[in-house]
Symmetry: C2
Subunit: 214 residues, 2 copies
Amino acid sequence: MTMKLHCFAESGNAYKAALALELAELEWEPVFVDFFAGETRTPEFRALNPMGEVPVLVDGDITLSQSGVILDYISSKTGKLGGTSADERREVLRWIFFDNHKVSGVAGPLRFNMNFLPEAKRNADVNGYMAARLASALKVMNTALADREWLVGNGLTIADISCAGYLFYSEPFTFERADYPNIDRWLISIAATPGWQHPYDLMPAPTVGQDLRS
Amino acid sequence: MTMKLHCFAESGNAYKAALALELAELEWEPVFVDFFAGETRTPEFRALNPMGEVPVLVDGDITLSQSGVILDYISSKTGKLGGTSADERREVLRWIFFDNHKVSGVAGPLRFNMNFLPEAKRNADVNGYMAARLASALKVMNTALADREWLVGNGLTIADISCAGYLFYSEPFTFERADYPNIDRWLISIAATPGWQHPYDLMPAPTVGQDLRS
């Protein structure tokens, strides 16, 4: 049965799941969630996911949310993208937690604040604080990538997919590739992987997506 | 060989690891990290953990960081605190990601800003923004706990330990137990578990810890 991913193109967290499904060569289809119209706050959506978040992956009678769990599930189910030893798998999980905690967990809200929040509600102090936190995390990633092509082991894993999720979006959120040359080179490698697609090509966004494509 | 946990008492993320080690009845000892004197930014500490964070768990030749990875390791090593089926283990991981992303990932910086940052650097807009994000995540947790004693399954798991980590600290960070009655009841259950200890009793804090105990 074809898996269903509840998602929308602007969500970097949904993109991680969609890209992993695609690169693991699984059969899946997107189900559009109209986040900007408030769909994730409806009782219907909360019945699907009480956490009120995308992505949600439905595979038969298994329903999963949180991108890190979905990435782990895709990797476990297919034996792909998860590293080649117990040590590597722990290292993969470590980077996915680092991403949730300090990269996507900050880049997501910051990008939202700077692009999708009404201008009157934007706050320079808040965004400056978030930008400094994001820069600190990206510096750790840039250093880690100084002497390696991928975050873990010798190939693309869900650690790379998770940490890169938000970094392919072109809306401004204070991340400039030129400031992080190792991250820049790594993003080029990820985008060169057969099957890679930009988030706005991989997921539906009837409202604003196509206008925002890089 | 006794495991070593590099930690300091004020860190909720370190507390999660320390409490799980204690409740899983493992032999461990704390190694004090003088975070407030800048130790996590030294080359020596970065050699131990390039991410520059506590906790770090050293078990023989295995060195782990990120509390979520350490919790998963403790549970896998002992067969304790991790749920009783594949479904439960995925659900446990989901809550740990939710915690990193939205509970501890916000409560940690907010508590730091409100208590440990010099007063001149505190910013009401930033803290108000973080407080609103934290309240939103705590509301999801409070709702999830409305009809269940533990976050996953029928007993305490590392999901509870992760999500509760910061909530036992008494320094103000806008969390009031009275606002979240199901969380309050759940914290009482966790604290009643044999072996439970308050973070300021479980980890070293020569500088300020003992003064801050609730």
